[in-house]
């Protein structure tokens, strides 16, 4: 992965306040550090899901370091803040890294991922009280409904911020997603920005082979959504799309962003197949990955 030359300070919870406006070059640096965290976290416990996590690193960095208004002094109700829900909870490493690096909890805690007595559970959970997490996810297909409820509560409260939710593309095979897809336009939930990680992969193979998702734009448009498409691994395209989505909110329609990504993005041997959906790299593979994930000032936990 090519590295931008712009110099940035180390990515730590102390140096990245959520509200500071970051340039694409700065965001890329942060994303690279997040990707280093992801491969190190799953390597550390020889388990977890690097593929989708790497593919969505740019999105989560863009949301937490540029687009969303949010406060790392975490409050469950998120009043006056934008909320983010991760429906495809298996890509928890990317969320944990981004939360830690935007100040929700110490970056060092990433080292406890999937270990006993940790707040950093295999899949996102509220049970242990990890700041930044508002609901458990892992069993797929539930997050869009939850985000709709949170968005409707915001409307009842006269809170004009947005609710974001990310789903996997394979996850769209769950029926509940389509119950929610039908509900949101009917109830004019227009403070909702849903995203699909369209990497074309799931556990057993390419989505085309497992369960063809067909024309997702046409499907969501037919359900009454405003649909945008973007490249989820190109911050120069992704950030403007996220900003466009915010502009379009509040106009009566829920917004869907179909985001094309590559599973495993940033680590060459993890890209191009479903193989790295849920496999951790060994020592050698980790070294190889870290050589490709360079940052100007590395700040590994």
């Amino acid at each position: 992965m090519s590295q931008p030359s712009a110099s940035t300070s180390p990515v730590t919870s102390e140096t990245h306040s959520a509200s500071a406006t970051k340039t694409p070059a700065e965001l890329k640096q942060i994303a690279a550090q997040v990707r280093r965290d992801i491969v190190r976290m799953v390597h550390g416990v020889s388990s977890g899901h690097p593929g989708g996590s790497l593919g969505c690193a740019d999105l989560l960095v863009a949301l937490y370091f540029r687009v969303m208004k949010h406060d790392p002094a975490f409050a469950m109700n998120g009043e006056g803040e934008d909320l983010f829900f991760l429906s495809n909870g298996h890509i928890s490493p990317v969320w944990y890294s981004v939360l830690a690096r935007s100040g929700y909890f110490p970056v060092s805690e990433l080292g406890t991922f999937r270990k006993l007595n940790s707040r950093v559970q295999g899949h996102p959970a509220t049970e242990e009280g990890l700041p930044g997490i508002r609901i458990a996810s892992g069993s797929l297909g539930q997050g869009l409904s939850v985000a709709i409820g949170a968005a409707q509560a915001k409307k009842l409260n006269g809170d004009d911020r947005q609710v974001y939710v990310l789903m996997g593309d394979g996850e769209l095979e769950e029926g509940q997603v389509w119950e929610a897809a039908m509900y949101a336009p009917h109830h004019k939930v227009d403070n909702l920005i849903a995203l699909v990680d369209r990497n074309g992969q799931q556990i057993d193979g390419p989505t085309d082979a497992i369960m063809n998702l067909g024309n997702l734009r046409a499907k969501f448009e037919a359900f009454g959504w405003k649909v945008l498409e973007t490249d989820g691994n190109d911050l120069e395209k992704l950030v403007p799309t996220l900003e466009e989505a915010r502009q379009l909110s509040g106009q009566g329609l829920p917004i869907m962003i179909l985001m094309d990504t590559q599973m495993g993005y940033g680590v060459d041997y993890m890209m191009g197949s479903h193989k790295w959906h849920g496999t951790a790299p060994n020592d050698e593979q980790l070294e190889l990955a870290l050589q490709q994930l360079l940052v100007d000032q590395q700040s590994d936990y």
């Binding site: 509220t126 458990a136 892992g138 939850v146 409820g149 509560a153 409260n157 509940q176 119950e179």
Partner: protein
């Protein structure tokens, strides 16, 4: 045996509807959701007076549970309303992950539980709901006995922070508990003190237990009758205090024996006070079509069945 006078009989689901409507007036954070069963759940009054806080979800119960969980994040207190079957078995994983494990303040309100749903038959007659719900960590499980108690329970659970399963039904039963009662979650109610046997009943089987108590009194048997309106947290103290006096017990419920009230009593007795117990419950079978009365009879849930269970347990106690 005490008398339990009442002036009318009513369905417990109407108690829920009345309680929900009161909450609409008294608590602006209470919101209600239904999956195309507004009328069956008696939610019409709430819908009419608080339309901006009423969400029609359509026939999509999984989505309803997720939306309810999401609404709590903004401080709302969602009451979901559908049949007991579609409130539990249909959406177990949604409840498990998005509500129970996530500790969300959702009130899952379930009508038409058990065989007394009647003619629709076994597809709709869930007899496993209490068991499924009580197995979930963080879940409170409530099964009140009449209209007044269901209304009081509905109002009380809004003030309790945490997930609740509230079960009620369609049968019209004597409305004998006080209209002004304070519903205390987790607190069993001793209806009749007695020395010979403890009868622990839940839901509308509490009235059957009272009828059985009268028959038993005529036979010279002095039954203690206790209303277990909260299945979880289970009032172990009240159950133990009673059996330590009577030395035997009968449980009565419109539910499977596996996982129900009797199962909770049995676990407690086995651990603390191994005394004979008989269970009046459905024994590992689905229901079927019929009138509620016919089904109560066929599945052994009548006062006579409680009387027979008492006689059996008394014989075991004497041995």
């Amino acid at each position: 045996m005490k008398e339990f006078p009442y002036s009318e009989s009513k369905d417990t689901r109407s108690g829920f509807g009345a309680g929900l409507h009161e909450l609409g007036k008294s608590n602006p954070n209470v919101v209600a959701l239904t999956a195309d069963l507004t009328g069956s759940l008696k939610m019409d009054a709430f819908k009419k007076d608080f339309p901006e806080r009423f969400f029609q979800v359509g026939i999509a119960e999984a989505n309803m549970m997720g939306i309810a969980a999401g609404l709590t994040i903004g401080g709302k207190i969602p009451f979901t309303g559908t049949f007991a079957n579609f409130s539990t078995g249909r959406v177990y994983d949604q409840i498990r992950q998005s509500i129970a494990y996530s500790g969300k303040n959702v009130k899952i309100c379930a009508s038409h539980a058990g065989v007394t749903l009647g003619e629709d038959g076994a597809t709709h007659q869930i007899l496993e709901d209490l068991g499924m719900m009580k197995m979930l960590p963080h879940m409170t499980v409530i099964n009140p006995c009449d209209f007044n108690q269901t209304k009081a329970a509905t109002i009380a659970i809004a003030d309790y922070e945490g997930p609740v399963y509230l079960r009620f039904g369609r049968p019209v039963v004597p409305n004998f508990t006080p209209a002004d009662q304070q519903f205390e979650i987790g607190k069993a109610v001793v209806l009749n003190e007695g020395a010979d046997v403890s009868i622990f009943a839940t839901g509308h089987l509490v009235w059957k237990a009272i009828l059985a108590g009268k028959i038993l009194a005529e036979k010279g048997i002095d039954a203690e009758i206790i209303n277990i309106h909260t299945i979880k947290p289970f009032d172990e103290e009240a159950v133990l205090a009673s059996v330590r006096k009577t030395r035997c017990a009968v449980s009565a419920e419109e539910h499977q024996m596996n996982g129900g009230l009797g199962d909770s009593v049995a676990q407690l007795l086995a651990r603390e006070e191994p005394l004979p117990l008989e269970m009046v419950a459905v024994n590992d079978s689905f229901g079927e079509s019929g009138t509620p009365d016919q089904l109560m009879e066929k599945y052994g849930l009548m006062e006579n069945d409680i009387v027979a269970a008492v006689e059996k347990v008394l014989a075991r106690k004497r041995k």
